[in-house]
Amino acid sequence: MNISSLLQYLISGLTTGSTYGLAALGFTIIFNSTGIINFAQGEFVMLGGMFSVFFMKWFGLPIAWAVLLAALATMIAGALIERLAIRPVKGASPINLVIVTIGVSIFIRGLAMLVWGKDTYALPAFSGDKPIAVLGAAMMPQSLWVLGVSLAMLAALKAFFSHTIQGKAMLACSFDRKAASLMGIGVERMVLLSFMISALIGAVGGAILAPITLTSFDVGVLLGLKGFAACILGGLGNPFGAALGGLVLGVLESLGAGYLSSAYKDAFAFILLLALLFVRPQGLFGRKSVKRV
C-alpha cells in the first residue's frame, strides 16, 4: 500500500462523503421537525445537479448563477412538496407518511425523466480541471470547492440554529412540538421551513458534486440511501453526527472501491448500514435514547 494512492482514495472519499453528509443533514432536519424519514431527500440532490446543468444550457447563465438559481428552484420544489403532499396527510399513520414521501420521490424522478430524458449530463468544474499535486496524489480543484462549500453550509446552519430566532424555534420544535406550539411557535411554518432548508442543502450538494460524478434523472435513489446510511452512522437526529457520518462513509466507500472491488462499490454503504443496525443502532456518535410512554 503506498501513501500517494491511499491519499488519493482519501481525497476522493472526503469529496463524495461531503455530499452524503449534506444529504444526511437534510434527512436530519426534516426528521427532527416532523419525525418523517423523507425518502425524497435524494431527489433534492438530483434536482440540484440537473437544474444547474439546464439553467446553464437554457439561459446561457454563468455557472455561479446557474447553481444559485438551481438551489433556489429546488427550495421552491421543497416548499411545494410540503404544501401539496405532506401537509394534506398531516396526522396520518407513519406508514402512510412514508408512502407519501416514496410517492413524491418517484413522482419527481418521473418528471425529471420526462423533461430531461434518460441521458447523463456533466456540469463543468467551477474553476478549471487542472489537478493540483498533493504529496504525489492528484487533487481536482473541484474537490476543494466541494469541501469548502460543505464546510460553509455547515457553519451557516450552525449559526442559523444557535443565533437566529427562526433557527431556535425550529430547534424547539424538534425537542417537543406541543410545547413549542404552546410557546407561540408556528409549528406548521417550521415544518415548511425545514423542507425548504433540506431541499436547499441537498441541491447545493448535488450541484457541487455534479462536475465530478455526472448526473442523471435517476441518481437520487442511491444518493438518498447513502445519505440515510450516513445519518444512521452519525446517530439519527444529530445534524453534526450526520455530516461526520457522511465523511466517514465516503472514505470507507472509496477505500473499499480502491482496495477491494470497484464493481461492488455501492454495496459497502448498505453492508455498513445493516451491520450498524445490528450492533449499534444509535449510531457511532449517538447516545442511547430512552423512550418514555
Partner: protein
Amino acid sequence: MDSFRKNLLGLAALMALLAVAPLLLGNDYYLTVLTLSAINAIIVVGLNLLLGHAGQISLGHGAFYGLAAYTSAILTATLGLPVFLGGLAGVLCAGVVALAIGIPTLKLHGHYLAMATLGFGLIVYIVFNEAVGLTGGPSGFTGIPRLSLAGMELTSDLGYYYLCAGCLGLVILVALNLIDSRTGRALRALHTSEKAAQAVGVDIARYKLAVFVLSALYAGLAGVLYAHYLTFIAPASFGFLYSVELIVMVVLGGMSSIFGSVAGAFFLTALPEFLRAFENIEILLFGAILIVCMIFLPEGLAGGVRAVRARLFRRAKGAGDA
C-alpha cells in the same frame, strides 16, 4: 356471517372468476397477461399483510422475487437439478435472506425496514448485473427449463396459468387464515398501538418478522413461477422500480383488503397493455397514484368502494324512514 366466512366466499368467487377468465378472453396474448397478473398478485398478497397488517413497508420485494428466480434458474439450468427441488430452494433462499435482514431492522422503532430493504434491493440488483459468470449479467439468463411434475413437463400455457391461479388461491387462503388467527389479532393489536400490544404481552418484533418472512416466501414462490414460465430472466425485471410497482398495486387496491390488493395487481399488470404511452409516464404515474391515494383514498379503491356503499345504504335507509 363472520368476516372469515365472508372472505372465504370472496375467495371462492375469485377462483371461479379466474377459472373462466381464459375462456372469455380466447387469446394467447391475454393468457400471458393473466398469468403474469396472477404471479404479481401472489407477491402483492404478502405485501398486503406486511403493509396493511404489520404496518411495515418493504422496498426490496423485487429483490426477493429475483433472488428466488435466479436461485432456481441456476440450480436447474446450470446444475441440472429437478425443477421441483430448484424451486423449493429458491423459495427458501428468499425466506432465509428475509430473516437475516428482518432480525436487526424489525427490532428497531420506526421505518428502518424500508431503508434496509431499499438498500438490499439495490445491492441484489448490482449482484445480478455484475456476477456475470453466475447470472449472465445484464443480458440475462436463458435456457431455464419449464416446470415438470413427476416427470411430466407442463408445456401448455393454459395449464401453467391454472397452476399460477391455484397458487394464488392457496396463498390467499393462508393469508386469510393468518388474519383470522391469534397472529392476525396480535397484528391488529400492534397496528392500533404498539405500546398497548406490548403491554399485553405481544412480542411485536417476532410477529413483524414472521409476516416479513412470509411475504418474502410469497415473493419467492412468485419468482420461481415467473422464471420457469418465461424460461428467461434479466436483472431489469427485479429492480427498484418493480419493488415500487408492487407497493403501488397494494396501495391502489387497498392496504387493508387482500382482495383489493389482488385487484390492484391485475389492474396494474394489464394497464401497460392498454396504455401505449405507458413506458414514458410509468414512473410519474406510480408516484401520482401513491400521493393521491394517501391524500384522498388512504384505504385504496377497496376502501373507496366500502365508503360509497355505506353512504348509499345510509341514504336508502334515510329515505325509507322519511
